[in-house]
Symmetry: C2
Subunit: 341 residues, 2 copies
């Protein structure tokens, strides 16, 4: 089947935006006085954690599936996902009356796994804990079954839907923003957002946040080519585990200004900090961007900043571990100040 | 000072709605397939947990403070709150350049307490764990200091702002809804919402949810008069602890169709259920309404239902306790179903 998706462009992003209008939520952009104090510039959180299905992935999934031909729908669709993309594809597919086959790593977050099943998808758990090995295996299974492959990131419609529409929306709500902090996994959202933002403001800065145990973006920039496969890393941040896409890196390489590498412990602190300061539950992958701000790894900001809060899907056992690992140096565990009577 | 707030009426509610437009978020109404399965009717969650300051209380606080005269602003304002109303008053007062004095029970949730301080309020912790004793003491302190008292619930502007505007908003987004499930504490939100909803649809049903250890609404209906004071109950659901208002009960007595009494354990399960099924963190008071649905204590529904999710403010230690108390009979702790390879 010929690829009917044109290359990433502002017009594709605008097409995605028009399609998604009324189909996804316009999520809030909320000021963060606490981050402003740390970073010294105005800071907003883009709360895609409040999005349908609990993450930005629904944007790309709905738009990508809207481009399926009738023949493709008959053939059936398959995808691979650490969770959020799969949940989004399950949601989007159901609205078209399709039952997608979703391959997931053995380490998949239980909350995401259950959600895909609840949405009626066929979910196949691989024997591999990492994303990359799962995807390689899943691609073979899907090809054998003659199913249409829906990439979680390395696809122009996914980039336009996930990141491009987010970029346009943020620029409408915070036209003064010039610094953007994003978690980066396969790079679909980051590529689309960076494309839209740099098209409008070439002087703006994009900080991509990688897990230090799975630094695909950092390695790719260093080596000058997309590092599409990495050994499985043990992390609760499944959304930023594994290699980057070849297509997404082609967009990102000239548009990323800095990479921040954060640790699992810093990510856990980021989740707790968001609960303490904003009373929002966010997932570990989303907390990578918060962690990069709290640790100063984002570098010095020269203008107003937006931190992308990419999702909220986290299982109870993982959340329990995050709360339990709270350490004594954590400001949140110090006694409160105030008047006592 | 004369009371310049007219009695509760649809016109006061509409005045509140017009004032709040653009000042508070229009929170999402989200379908709950999981509750639909349990209750057998269409069910939506009204997510006021996504509201500014983390609860519906900002509606009433902003509207109430907008009615202050210049003399009253000069005199200063004081209030008593288990947390959410105080946080909302702190937020609203700051926008007017006022520093409110907020009296809180000694048992106040730390997350709410810190948030009030961060918003610049003067926060005074009482020696009493319960709301009612704290309020009696606070009223004397405020009177002595000549401050204007802002009731957390027993005030027409608070009823109109908190509950009336919520009712109108829900009826716009779900005009077919005829069953409404609400947590009830002092009764300000419940009175306003019940007033607006029954005005439009006299045949609709309102289920008020009380904590079994602090059943002010149930006792008031039984005794035929407002039970405005109750001994302190030990609960993480501070928002529904304590007596009901005299003014709010006057509105509620003819408009409440059923009271559901839920236990602390059922409330904890409600918090976990929301995390599992919707990936939303909600506070214990809000989970009382969810618990009433999960236990069947809401009774039989004959039409589409709306469950009010009133807030999301909960401290990390309390959340840790809620997750840790998870029991083996909890469906969320059973192994997942699906295909394994």
């Amino acid at each position: 089947m010929p690829d009917r998706v044109p290359p990433l462009s502002l017009s594709l992003i605008e097409q995605a935006r028009a399609f998604l209008a009324g189909r996804v939520l316009r999520t809030p952009l909320e000021g963060s006085p606490a981050l402003e104090e740390i970073l010294g510039v105005p800071v907003w959180l883009k709360l895609e954690s409040a999005q349908l299905t609990g993450s930005f992935k629904i944007r790309g999934a709905l738009f990508r599936l809207s481009l399926l031909s009738e023949d493709e729908k008959l053939a059936g669709i398959a995808t691979c996902s650490a969770g959020n993309h799969g949940k989004a594809v399950a949601y989007a597919a159901r609205s078209l009356g399709l039952v997608p086959t979703i391959f997931v790593p053995s380490s998949v977050d239980e909350s995401k796994y259950r959600a895909m099943l609840d949405l009626g998808a066929e979910v196949v758990r691989s024997e591999f804990p990492g994303y990359d090995e799962t995807e390689q295996w899943a691609l073979r299974q899907a090809a054998r079954a003659g199913k249409v492959w829906i990439s979680a990131f390395d696809d122009e419609a996914i980039m336009a839907g996930n990141g491009g529409t987010l970029g346009l929306e943020i620029l409408e709500d915070a036209p003064q923003a010039r610094e953007f902090v994003l978690p980066v996994g396969g790079g679909g959202m980051a590529a689309g957002l960076a494309y839209a933002v740099k098209d409008r403001f070439p002087g703006s800065r994009i900080v991509g946040c990688n897990h230090e145990l799975s630094p695909a973006l950092a390695l790719s920039l260093e080596r000058g080519h997309a590092v599409t496969r990495l050994p499985a890393a043990e992390t609760s941040a499944g959304g930023i585990e594994g290699g980057i896409g070849a297509k997404t890196f082609a967009v990102l390489r000239s548009r990323i200004d800095r990479v921040a590498l954060v640790s699992e412990e810093e990510i856990f602190k980021g989740v707790r900090w968001m609960l303490e300061k904003h009373q929002y539950l966010i997932e570990p992958s989303a907390a990578a961007a918060v962690a990069a701000c709290l640790t100063g790894k984002v570098g010095t900001f020269e203008g107003p900043a937006v931190v992308l809060i990419s999702g909220r899907n986290v299982s109870l056992p993982t959340l329990g571990r995050i709360l339990a690992s709270r350490d004594i140096s954590d400001p949140a565990s110090l006694p409160a100040k105030g008047h006592f009577v």
